[in-house]
């Protein structure tokens, strides 16, 4: 698939604009707080847009249209797991995280409730989680650029990565947020317009509904119930309280702003998914023999007018880049807060923290490219940390937030570490050939249950012990 000169020029212009936004953001970034949490003055609308842009990567656009093309509306039921996750986070969890005080990372939240041991474990896991996902996004970016330009994968991945690392390193989270805003606007507008044009080309909604294979419009499609449940659970838990989301919850002026931004995003995401699914279904009618992963790009190429086509392709690339930059920025903040400051230099000055955040952005960027391109086996292993997030960190975090809120610590501090270890071990063992997923229960669900069980038992056993040393809860500055 190749583009005309006008569309390629728009794509190139997009790269220039993104670097310029990074430079603008750099002038706004004077302290570590600016780099990590936007000086805690992120407006609701920015939180909404940055959440939408971060959550809308390649999978939520190209991938979702491809799934709708193949399986139909059943994918909507499965995706509702993510919508539910965001609505519940927005209403009950995110505002409490913001209300605790001046936090930056999930490690900070865990340190507040469970002390240094849990913070260290969380810091390490969230760092691996972010670095791994960054590598995945780099590869996806290279593939999208390859599809659009027809050029080879490796140089394109490196070129796209260099641009991402430069603007993220310069401007920190402000650069990420500005590019997120731009990407959200162009992609949401472009994809929705493409959906309207494609549905119209298929003869309108009613003609589309009567012309499609009925199985595509059946709520369960051809999927067995177990598959629907498994995908629903994966969406519900996979990115629950993900490190890059928690960093954003902490970046607003108030808990109320966080509640509005996240809840509105959760609701919006449901409607956006319907639009993308409609696009995939129109593709099923209009393009009979297309490779499913190319449905969205083919509709954009064949049905959108010149100019808008280039803009949407730029936005598709941006969708992947903006997920990658968010994760890169998040990984550098986790490194600076939870690893550098905690283990290497506890009394680091603000200027030094900012310097290390920038240095680590460059280092993680380079390491991400190297790992994604040259070490596929190591990389596959690392991807596993993504699966371990929900059954390890999420249960003790959610229980502490719901039970004690932002002011009280009700769970015994010693309970978190054994619960995290139990959750990870169960998830790992449950899926191995030795156990082979007993009762058909997905490993992640078994891990969450094991985690909660051990959390309860360890809490009951240690709740009367005075928290000392590495279990002493950390204080967080108000604000």
């Amino acid at each position: 698939m190749s583009l005309g000169v006008v569309d390629l020029a728009i794509l190139l212009l997009y790269f220039v604009v993104v670097i310029a936004l990074g430079y603008t953001a750099m002038r706004k970034t004077k302290r570590f707080d600016d780099y990590a949490v936007a000086g805690r003055r992120l407006p609701v609308v920015f939180l909404f847009a940055t959440m939408a842009a971060t959550a809308t990567g390649g999978a939520a656009t190209v991938g979702r249209a491809s799934q709708a093309y193949q399986a139909g509306i059943v994918i909507f039921a499965a995706t509702m797991g993510f919508v539910l996750n965001q609505l519940l986070s927005g209403l009950f969890l995110a505002p409490r995280i913001r209300a605790i005080g001046k936090l930056y990372t999930v490690g900070d939240v865990m340190g507040f409730y469970y002390g240094r041991a849990a913070r260290a474990l969380t810091g390490l896991l969230s760092f691996l989680y972010s670095v791994t996902l960054f590598g995945v996004q780099l590869l996806a970016m290279g593939r999208i650029l390859q599809t659009i330009t027809g050029l080879p994968l490796v140089p394109l991945t490196i070129a796209g990565s260099i641009v991402t690392v430069i603007y993220t390193g310069l401007g920190g989270i402000w650069a990420v947020i500005y590019t997120d805003l731009l990407q959200f606007l162009v992609l949401a507008f472009g994809i929705t317009t493409a959906a309207v044009v494609a549905v119209h080309a298929a003869g309108g909604v009613d003609a589309l509904v009567s012309g499609l294979d009925p199985v595509l419009l059946s709520p369960a499609g051809t999927w067995p119930t177990s598959q629907i449940v498994a995908v629903f659970v994966a969406f519900l838990l996979g990115e629950a309280l993900a490190p890059y989301f928690v960093q954003r919850y902490a970046a607003t002026k108030s808990p109320s702003d966080t509640r509005w931004g996240v809840t509105l995003f959760g609701a919006y995401y449901g409607f956006y998914t319907i639009v993308v699914i409609a696009l995939g279904l129109a593709g099923a009618m209009l393009l009979s023999d297309t490779e499913p992963d190319l449905v969205l790009t083919t509709i954009v190429r064949d049905f959108l007018p010149l100019g808008l086509k280039g803009l949407v392709f730029a936005a598709l690339l941006a969708a992947v880049m903006s997920t990658g930059d968010s994760i890169l920025n998040n990984a550098s903040v986790i490194f600076t807060r939870d690893i550098y400051r905690m283990f290497l230099r506890h009394e680091a000055s603000d200027a030094r923290m900012l310097l290390w955040a920038r240095i680590s952005t460059l280092a993680i960027g380079a390491a991400g490219v190297a790992a994604a391109l040259s070490l596929p086996d190591v990389f596959q292993l690392l991807i596993y940390t993504y699966t371990l997030w929900a059954p390890s960190i999420v249960p003790p975090l959610v229980v502490a937030l719901l039970w004690g809120g932002a002011r009280q610590r009700r769970v015994a501090p010693r309970a978190a570490v054994p619960a995290i270890v139990a959750g990870m071990t169960t998830t790992f063992l449950w899926g191995t050939p030795l156990l082979g997923e007993p009762l058909g229960i997905p490993p992640v669900v078994a891990g969450v249950f094991a985690n909660l069980l051990v959390l309860y038992l360890a809490h009951t056993a240690t709740r009367n012990m005075a928290p000392t040393g590495i279990f002493r809860a950390e204080e967080v500055e108000a604000g």
Partner: protein, 37 residues
């Protein structure tokens, strides 16, 4: 209009409204918080 039609057009309207509201919010934030200060 059928249920499916209503669902599709309400969803597209929500996305367009979100885009419009974000543009308005961005412009308002530029006025109250200029990036070059």
């Amino acid at each position: 209009m059928s249920f499916w039609g209503l669902l599709f057009y309400v969803s597209t309207a929500v996305v367009y409204i979100a885009v419009g509201a974000t543009v308005v919010g961005w412009i308002r934030s530029l006025r109250s918080d200029p990036p070059h200060r």
